[in-house]
Amino acid sequence: MLRQNLEELRGKALQAVRDARDAAALETIRVGFLGKKGELTAILKRMGSLSPDERPSVGAFANDVRAAVESALESASGRIAEKELERRLAEETVDVTLPGNPFRAGRRHPMQTVLDDVTKIFLGMGFSVAEGPEVETTYYCFDALNHSPDHPARDPQDTFYFDDETILRTQTSSVQIRVMEKEKPPIRIISPGRTYRKDEIDATHSAHFHQIEGLAVDKGITMADLKGALHTMMTGLYGSGVKLRFRPHHFPYTEPSAEVDLQCFACQGKGCRMCKDEGWIEMLGSGMVHPAVLERCGVDPDVYSGFAFGVGIERLTLMRYKINDMRLLYENDVRFLRQF
């Protein structure tokens, strides 16, 4: 009788568990069958009416029933929890195309990025970075660089003067002299920095600009080395497709001197508006250090030779990012700065 009751109970409980749809329903089932006032407990209370022979087997059976119901409850609860989680997660669905929360990150100025890149390239070639003053004497900026006393570059129309002998350096080449006065060859330096010329400020000119000077002095430095160094720099900056053109020019402090043109990216040298129909864009001045400059710095030009170059960082930057107006570099408008 009791056994039969238990069997019925088991059948009912398992069915109820199968029918349960949420955790609350399961709890009700658990309390209803297994709780202190539950049906199983009620049946078990009637165990006393059984004969001692029957009691162990019915007791064991009752335990089996309890275990079966508990196990069913447990697995159902796992199943339901999983379902509930699924439902909750579904409710938590968001529009993934909404914008992310703003994350504030700063940027380097594009010119500094270019400068850093150039610096890395030259560090790799064994150059180090030298620095020198921006407010400079005419000696370091002109005399020591083999400019005649009447050289037009000294003209107050082109150069900013504080007094007759003090100027804003017009080129970073002054650092060459300061380095060669202090150090003995071999010398390999680049010297980035601000330079100043009295140009009216427009889309392609600034009274205030940046240059990177390069200088290598050693035994047996050749013009071919100059070409190789500059080629490495331009390839590093603009990729392996760059074409350079070395063109004879004149600077008082180099001999031979060369201007270096970069083949126009826009037209591949065919001529377009960007290169003013020339196919080439003038990038920098360079050459073999003039023996008079070496001598003045106490370097024997019969033993040592060297190359030097000076390149405008503005121009490198404009070319790299295809910026059409140099003034943007100094306006510090965040709409510009943000782009790099």
Binding site: H109, D150, D163, G228, F246, R247, H290, Y330, V334
Partner: protein
């Protein structure tokens, strides 16, 4: 400098070399061509015609109907409105389909019912003025003389077709400011490329009677040179029986192609010789030279001169002039005087061909603000041996043009000429220097006029720029071709390194960027008004700035002593652009005048911004993080004031007891439209570098649990948080691991002006689990000291 391609062809055979090819070759050998312009290309299908008959238009009072022979056997009927046309007139005729300068196209059309098969052209319609073509500026059609044949292409017949190469000639090569100079370069360049270009060097000119004896000329002219330094050579010739008039067509066209306006035969000859040989010349009207004398001297104090351009010039005693027996009549090497100008009445002239000191000419031209074709050549230093050939060439042209009779003989006042320069020449050495083999270096030099002999090169007189063997290397290299030099890398034994300071600056930049700031680049020079704008007091040491003598403008005239004005400028630009949220920084140089020749250049770091959540505390947070990470040391902030800052929101930033700069919200009157909360901080970057601590020191993770206590403190009015914290930290002992403020409360339930500051204190021992009792006694000590020192009590 502009150079006519047709003119060049007189000096070198350019068969098979187009102007563009020539331009490219010359660019690569050192004479950079800026532009190649085809002249006359804008005139097409215009021919010479002869008007055979002319009559009135039947239906129009002001029109004429012409029958014009254009050489093809079919007379053209052309209607014209001009009233200077007559039967027999030779005129330019634009035929059907013609193209005129300015892009104008001519088509057969009807005028008042009659067909017009083209157009008779005025000078203006062909782009000609009276200087180019006599009569071209007259009203009406350009009437030509009978030497023009009907049917001929008008642009050809009027010699309007040419190509102009415009060169950028470097300062060291004044010899290339001439047709002959370019021709020499072209010949050598083409020869180096294996093309036969003939020889240009040493082409002689002769007028037949210029040499030697001063027999004739001494009756007309005496020349005295008072200053041999400023005028090493003065050569002159006299021409009588001058027939003033226009120079011939070919000469006018060449002058024009080279950018010089034709003015009349004598002046045109002087300009022609200058363009051709590079030697500037001048012609004086002999009748205007008192006593037939020319004196080369410096100007007298107060002396004035009316120059050819009609302007009165005040001369200074440093300036060299050409004077007659009494007055200055030309500014030497710059411009002639109006008084002795060649006119239609001129009968006898003096040709001057001289050598003047370059720098002196340059200074004179600059101070008189009249840079001329002549002065720009002289200032670069010209070949003193060129004066006589130029005179010969001028007199030769006088004869050729029938413009006068050169008087036999030449006056040549000449200081001793320097001997030709000899430079050691060794091919192998040049090859080693360049890194390329140029076995024919000697030949290349010879093609430029060098004479190679016994291991040295004799430099031609026109190449004063060559003085050392490296110069020869350049000559050889540029003719051989820079593009044939290989690209190698200099052998390097060392890796390059940044110095410690350079590496630290890079790190500082990284930190600023990581904190959300955009790097700006601002001008190193600012204006005195920027000091005012930043509210620097009148006696501020920051106003003692290095000042430029010749600035671009007042606003760029002083070297900055602080980065704040630069930041303000950048912020104001962003405010003007309505950029809502801006954070900028710059690690830049300031220039401190300490009385030495050169100012002290030091780096400062400025950070600032506005908008979004920016205020004193956000910027302070950034600066705390920056210094915390860069110097690995907590910065202290001490109430301070600065002219540019909000008086109640400004602090001095202290690192290890040293002042690093100021931080604060910007004073509201600084910038119109600047949002409130805008803040800035300017730090001494050199100090940051000095105190930097690039490497972190590892601290092991704690092994024992901490005891955490929150305490709320009632702080009387005026108590500074830094003092409270200082007291807590000082008295917390080694067990106090952290003290963090987490709440600030002002208002109800507190005494007037008092604040409640709540701190979370974390206590921990390194070697054991701390007991509550230990933490409690530490807190008691802290509270006691807070009370005794600051009057701070615990809030219950």
């Amino acid at each position: 400098m502009k150079c006519s391609y047709n003119w060049l062809k007189e000096y070198i055979p350019l068969d098979g070399v187009t102007p563009k090819e020539l331009a490219r070759a010359l660019t690569m050998s050192g004479s950079k061509v800026e532009s190649v312009t085809e002249l006359g290309a804008d005139i097409q299908n215009v021919v010479i015609g002869r008007v055979t008959a002319i009559g009135k238009h039947p239906d129009a009072d002001r029109l004429f109907v012409c029958s014009v022979d254009t050489g093809d056997g079919t007379p053209k009927q052309i209607v014209t409105g001009a009233n200077n046309v007559f039967a027999g007139a030779v005129v330019p005729v634009a035929l059907d389909g013609a193209l005129l300068p300015g892009g104008k196209k001519i088509k057969t059309g009807r005028m008042r019912g009659l067909e017009s098969q083209g157009m008779l052209c005025s000078g203006d319609e062909l782009g000609l003025d009276g200087h180019d073509q006599p009569g071209a500026d007259a009203d009406g059609i350009l009437i030509l003389d009978d030497t023009f044949t009907p049917g001929a292409d008008a642009a050809e017949a009027l010699m309007l077709r040419d190509t102009v190469l415009e060169f950028e000639i470097t300062n060291n090569r004044p010899d290339c400011l001439s047709v002959i100079g370019i021709a020499r370069e072209a010949a050598a360049t083409l020869a180096a490329a294996g093309q036969d270009a003939g020889t240009v060097i040493g082409r002689p000119f002769s007028s037949g009677n210029g040499a030697g004896a001063q027999s004739g000329i001494s009756g007309y002219l005496t020349v005295t040179v008072e200053d041999e330094t400023l005028c090493p050579r003065y050569s002159a010739r006299v021409v009588t029986d001058v027939v003033p008039g226009p120079s011939p067509l070919w000469m006018r066209r060449r002058l024009r192609a080279c950018g010089v306006r034709p003015l009349g035969n004598i002046v045109d000859i002087t300009n022609y010789v200058m363009l051709e040989l590079g030697q500037p010349m001048h012609a004086f009207d002999h009748a205007c030279l008192r006593d037939g004398r020319l004196v080369v001297r410096t100007a007298r104090p107060g002396e004035t001169l009316e120059t050819l351009d009609g302007r009165a010039r005040s001369l200074e005693p440093s300036m060299l002039v050409i004077a007659d027996a009494r007055d200055a009549t030309a500014v030497a090497g710059v411009m002639g005087g109006a008084e002795s100008e060649i006119t239609e009445k001129t009968k006898t002239i003096v040709f001057e061909s001289a050598s003047f000191n370059g720098p002196s000419v340059r200074r004179t031209a600059l101070s008189l603000a009249m840079r001329t074709d002549a002065s720009s050549r002289f200032e670069k230093g010209l070949d003193p041996t060129a004066t006589l050939p130029a005179l010969e060439r001028a007199c030769q042209l006088v004869l050729e043009l029938g413009s006068g009779e050169p008087v036999p003989g030449v006056i040549d006042v000449c200081a001793p000429l320097a001997p030709p320069v000899s430079v050691p020449f060794e091919t192998a050495r040049i090859e080693r220097y360049l890194g390329v083999g140029i076995p024919n270096a000697g030949e290349l030099l010879e093609s430029l006029g060098f004479v190679i002999r016994d291991g040295s090169a004799l430099v031609p007189s026109w190449r004063s720029d060559v003085s050392v063997w490296q110069d020869l290397a350049e000559e050889a290299a540029r003719l051989h071709g820079y593009d044939k030099i290989p690209a190698t890398l200099p052998p390097s034994k060392n890796q390059g390194w940044l110095t410690e300071a350079q590496a630290l600056r890079a790190r500082l930049n990284e930190l600023c960027v990581s904190l959300g700031f955009f790097e700006m680049l601002t001008y190193s020079f600012i204006g005195p008004a920027d000091f005012d704008a930043a509210r620097f007091p009148a006696d501020s040491p920051l106003r003692r700035a290095k000042t430029l003598r010749n600035p671009l403008g007042e606003e760029h005239s002083v070297m900055r002593t602080s980065l704040l004005p630069s930041l303000l400028e950048a912020l104001s630009r962003n405010v003007a652009a309505r950029n809502p949220d801006v954070r900028l920084y710059e690690l830049g140089m300031v220039y401190t005048d300490e009385g030495e020749q050169l100012p002290r250049e030091t780096r400062r770091l400025v950070l600032g911004g506005y908008g979004d959540d920016t205020d004193y505390f956000t910027l302070k947070g950034a600066v705390e993080t920056l210094i915390g990470r860069f110097c690995r040391k907590r910065a202290d902030f001490v109430r301070a004031s600065g002219p540019a800052f909000h008086p109640g929101r400004c602090a001095e930033v202290m690192i290890r007891g040293r002042s690093a700069g100021l931080i604060g919200e910007l004073h509201p009157t600084l910038l119109r439209g600047l949002p409130s909360g805008a803040a800035a901080c300017e730090l001494d970057a050199e100090l940051l570098l000095e105190l930097s601590q690039p490497d972190a020191k590892f601290v092991p993770m704690p092994r024992f649990p901490a005891v955490t206590r929150d305490i709320a403190l009632i702080c009387p009015a005026g108590t500074q948080a830094a003092d409270v914290r200082g007291t807590i930290e000082k008295n917390g002992g080694h067990l106090l691991e952290e003290c963090a403020l987490f709440d600030v409360y002002e208002g109800k339930n507190l005494p007037d002006g008092a604040r409640s500051l709540a701190y979370r204190l974390i206590f921990r021992a390194e070697d054991r689990t701390l007991t509550d009792g230990e933490a409690e006694s530490a807190i008691q000590k802290i509270l006691r000291k807070l009370h005794d020192g600051l009057g701070v009590t615990i809030r219950s």
